[in-house]
């Protein structure tokens, strides 16, 4: 199974890298948002905000690529005519889809690299991390937890015919409520409990604290915990999707 996951992840990562749409989402869009945030923080004289903005914009890119990639994952397989083959394969449907959703989150790593590079070269953002080793750990854990959240998205969005519009709807709100560019303390109190069940909140906390200083392990721990819950939910929903599609013979119907 480890081989299946590893090869599937690598295959989908290469496949998505060939998509101009994903490269845009992963590189250009975060760079544009980072640029705006750099200018805003700079003009607003907010001290120490540039690295904060670069990391936040990078995580925004990871969320976007997960949202659009995983949200439409099953639908894409259907359009490409590969869904039936995947479902009929001896490997469980879950283990075939998991590398795909994790790879959509992984491609978001381009976002972090792009925003940090852009910030360093054009805005002089200091790339001095307080805990470099923990940063190197927090980042893949965050990506993995988002990939597992992507599994839940993939298995639920498939029930919604206009999944792409639904993805459009969820992009900004999640950026907002997970505090990627705005401290959660600025948002209304009722937003905070929502942010607790979303992995990007804890991933951002871990990555940001590793870079700027602060407790890193609670964020990493919450990513692992939420990732486990997402995996359980994703497995349940995937199983349900497969069962219903077989019963009703609707696998290839959009």
């Amino acid at each position: 199974m480890a081989r299946l996951l590893a090869i599937g992840w690598l295959f989908h990562l290469k496949n998505l890298t060939n998509s101009l749409f994903f490269v845009l989402i992963s590189v250009l869009q975060p760079v544009i948002f980072a640029t705006i945030a750099f200018f805003m923080f700079d003009a607003g004289r907010r001290s120490g905000g540039l690295l904060y903005a670069a990391l936040g914009a990078g995580l925004m890119g990871i969320w976007s690529s997960t949202l659009f990639g995983s949200g439409g994952a099953i639908q894409w397989q259907r359009w490409q005519g590969t869904l039936e083959v995947i479902v009929a394969a001896p490997a469980r449907f879950l283990w075939v889809m998991l590398p795909l959703t994790v790879s959509t989150a992984s491609i978001g790593l381009y976002s972090i690299v792009a925003t940090l590079f852009w910030g360093r070269v054009f805005f002089g953002v200091p790339l001095e991390f307080e805990h470099p080793w923990l940063f190197a750990l927090a980042l893949p854990v965050t990506v993995l937890s988002l990939g597992l959240l992507g599994l839940v998205l993939a298995s639920t969005f498939v029930l919604y015919r206009q999944a792409s519009a639904f993805s459009n709807l969820l992009e900004y709100p999640i950026w907002l409520v997970t505090g990627l560019l705005v401290p959660l303390s600025l948002l209304p109190g009722w937003v905070e409990p929502l942010s607790w069940v979303l992995a990007p909140t804890w991933g951002m906390e871990a990555v940001r604290n590793a870079a700027l200083g602060g407790e890193v392990w609670p964020g990493i721990g919450m990513c692992v915990l939420l990732g486990t819950i997402y995996l359980a939910l994703g497995a349940l929903f995937m199983q349900n999707f497969e069962r219903l599609a077989r019963q009703r013979a609707t696998l290839s119907l959009t």
């Binding site: 101009l20 749409f21 845009l24 250009l28 869009q29 544009i32 640029t35 705006i36 945030a37 200018f39 805003m40 923080f41 700079d42 003009a43 607003g44 004289r45 907010r46 905000g49 015919r161 206009q162 792409s164 519009a165 639904f166 459009n168 709807l169 992009e171 900004y172 709100p173 950026w175 907002l176 560019l181 705005v182 401290p183 600025l186 948002l187």
Partner: protein
């Protein structure tokens, strides 16, 4: 008379035919709800940065969001025809090209205006923006002119759609550039000098500034210049876009590449 019919009736029919998929389930999340969250995101970043008031971001982002319907819809007028394999039929008709292509932009301007106006009203209500009662009509005018000027840019985008396969990617890039350059979120004066020069030639820059002045209590007479420049920018982009479409049509015929981006 025929040209007028192609302009008004043809434009409307084409819009309905090409956007048959724009159902409420797609329209509401993408064009009604998403701009509100864009406004809230930037208003909160603005608060965090301590830069400008909430009204600043409501106006900037509401007007700028008209770019989504204006850019994407105009591009789809070429890419959608090609996808449906009707581009060739359109281009062999004897219809005059000016009403044929420009007529398609009228529903786009209307939709862009509606999207921006809705975001302005709802976003303004959420943050408690106070607008002088007499300012609503001039604000509507400035918003409509802004939608018009961006549709002009959309026509350029449509022309590029003859040679660019990933038209939605192109539109996303332009949308992002408009977000940075037009003063929607960063005051133009705070941008580097070269960016200020570029922003002068962008759709929205003057329209957004006009609406901000109107909300701040300015009169229509104070912003005529800004609205006029915004309209002129729209005309220039529209003319350039039309010329580009004609040039691409000729090239497409010569090299038999109409159906191939």
């Amino acid at each position: 008379m025929t040209s007028l019919r192609i302009f008004f009736v043809g434009g409307q029919m084409t819009y309905r035919a090409l956007f048959y998929w724009l159902t409420p389930q797609i329209y509401i999340p993408s064009l009604i709800v998403a701009p509100i969250f864009q406004i809230l995101l930037f208003a909160d970043i603005g608060r965090s940065a301590g830069l400008e008031s909430d009204e600043f971001y409501v106006i900037g982002n509401a007007i700028q969001y008209a770019a989504i319907p204006c850019l994407f819809a105009m591009t789809h007028l070429i890419a959608g025809e090609r996808f449906q394999q009707t581009l060739g039929y359109i281009l062999i008709t004897p219809a005059k090209r000016l009403p044929l292509f420009v007529g398609r932009s009228l529903p786009v301007v209307t939709n862009g205006f509606f999207v921006a106006a809705f975001a302005l009203v709802v976003g303004g209500a959420i943050v408690g923006m106070e607008v002088p009662a007499g300012a609503w009509a001039p604000i509507a005018l400035a918003t409509a002119v802004s939608a018009f000027s961006c549709t002009g840019l959309g026509l350029v985008n449509a022309g590029l759609g003859f040679i660019v396969r990933e038209t939605s990617v192109l539109s996303n890039i332009i949308f992002g550039l408009l977000l940075v350059f037009t003063g929607a979120n960063v005051p133009v004066d705070d941008l580097p000098r070269w960016m200020q020069i570029v922003s002068e030639g962008m759709p929205f820059t003057h329209g957004i500034e006009a609406v901000r002045r109107l909300v701040a209590g300015g009169a229509l007479s104070d912003v005529w210049g800004l609205i006029g420049v915004e309209a002129l920018i729209g005309v220039l982009y529209g003319a350039g876009g039309y010329a580009l479409i004609r040039a691409m049509e000729v090239i497409g015929r010569r090299h038999a590449t109409l159906e191939r981006a």
